[in-house]
Point group: C2
């Protein structure tokens, strides 16, 4: 590497040849993907806009442990792929998509988080555009399903997540504990048939999404190419969990979007101009 090293008794090359990688007992490493998207559902009323909701992709486990519980899609990091490649590969296996946003969320490394053995898992958060959804059929006897995600904050640091795919409803309860550091800042009060510590991971992802939507252009990754400003506002409202005032919202995001000449029709009210995003923002 550096000239001075050549002078040492053994060279780096020689050192590497003699290095024994089995010297340390190793944990396994997996990735888990928290995949969000926004879908809309038509309402009965011809005047009303379709209802938009936040959705999360889960897989029903076909094996022990946590058999028949729901889990985040993920898998083991292979020895010849980077952690990111691994997350991306798993994501593609589940969603068949290329055009998506992915960011590393957090690495969960508590000793007892998997009953099988010591597993450290790096979680990723992915956002995919609704127009791109093309869900792969369930593989190896395990079901894949999008769950509508709603959540509410309670008073004493508690935080409930509800996941509903039309058949199954999962209710998870989380607790913030500011006395704790790192991974244990969020504790699972009620796992609600979510496997492993995945309720906690989902909680982390939600918080990350909530925070970053305020100061980045993350939403962009949840929107189709053309969208109305009301649709955009609704996505913000869903993620932030509060209503926004239209005029103020529009002033705030006006530099992020570009007006087009297209309009949405098919509505029992005044047609709405379609917009596009015009830039990205760095987000380290």
């Amino acid at each position: 590497m550096k000239a001075e090293e050549e002078k040492k008794h053994i060279s780096e090359e020689e050192f590497l040849k003699n290095y024994d990688p089995s010297e340390f007992e190793r944990p396994s490493v997996t990735v888990d993907n928290v995949i969000f998207s926004i879908f809309e559902t038509k309402t009965g009323n011809y005047r009303k806009n379709p209802e938009q909701n936040l959705y999360l992709l889960l897989i029903k486990r076909g094996e022990h442990p946590f058999i028949n519980n729901w889990a985040l899609p993920g898998g083991f990091v292979r020895i010849n792929e980077s952690v990111e490649e691994s997350a991306y590969r798993e994501l593609k296996e589940e969603t068949n998509l290329d055009d998506l946003y992915m960011e590393q969320l957090y690495t969960f490394g508590n000793v007892e988080r998997d009953p099988r053995m010591r597993i450290i898992s790096t979680a990723y958060m992915a956002l995919i555009k609704p127009e791109n959804i093309e869900l792969k059929a369930a593989t190896d006897a395990s079901a894949v399903s999008w769950f509508k995600l709603t959540y509410e904050f309670l008073d004493n640091g508690k935080f409930n997540i509800k996941l509903d795919n039309g058949e199954t409803v999962l209710n998870a309860g989380l607790i913030f504990d500011n006395e704790e550091r790192g991974e244990n800042r969020i504790k699972i009060a009620e796992s609600g048939e979510l496997a492993f510590d995945h309720a906690k991971i989902i909680g982390y992802a939600l918080m990350r999404l909530r925070n970053k939507i305020e100061y980045t252009n993350l939403v962009f990754n949840l929107m189709p190419e053309y969208f109305t400003l009301t649709e955009l506002q609704k996505v913000y409202e869903i993620i932030l969990g509060k209503e926004l005032i239209k005029a103020n919202f529009r002033r705030k995001i006006k530099d992020l979007v570009t007006e087009t000449e297209k309009f949405s029709d098919e509505a029992g009210h005044r047609p709405s101009r379609l917009f596009k995003f015009n830039s990205k923002v760095s987000d380290i």
Copy 2:
């Protein structure tokens, strides 16, 4: 776990007994700590305040690979400790401190990041108060040293870091590439005798510190119990890399600090009131 599982052919208990954890070839997992502190150096001029600087703790490697280069303190995650415990243990081994702030930074998982073997490393950023520094003597023939850290942004996404411990000067060059995702967003142009990808990790930590100082109370962890507002402002200025206007700065942080009845003396100018921090801010 759940009642329905009991009905399955094999129980979870039985499943775990037969589970073979050696089924997958596993990467090794390490932690690396980016440990920052602020030290002050007296100036010759009796009127002037001491100069404050940002420092970073590095270890001189006594072994291949990267022998004689400087590296972040860290080590392997043991099979019976969480990743956070591991980072904390390493931190204590190096600094002997309890009272510190630590947060997970990022997990670096590129395949070729360690020439020995496949190593995934979870990096942590730690902030320690200058009053607490009690540096452990160098262990196992490797030197431990605080490096003064300065940095500058260049035009085309480039970013230079200079580390100086009085004897050795390390110059690292990093490049932001917004086309890339995740770990590869920052590339190493010049490693400057920093081992492995540690220049990149330091770059990540610096960016994190810069960003979070704006919307959290992280600085608190770099300040002594009592401090003047000018000292506090200087710490902000060092980390943000720009000068701030005194009156505006004081208005901005006025709710974070509490006035005390103490004053700093020993100066060739008007004595300065000492303040304390009064609250913490959550920072997920």
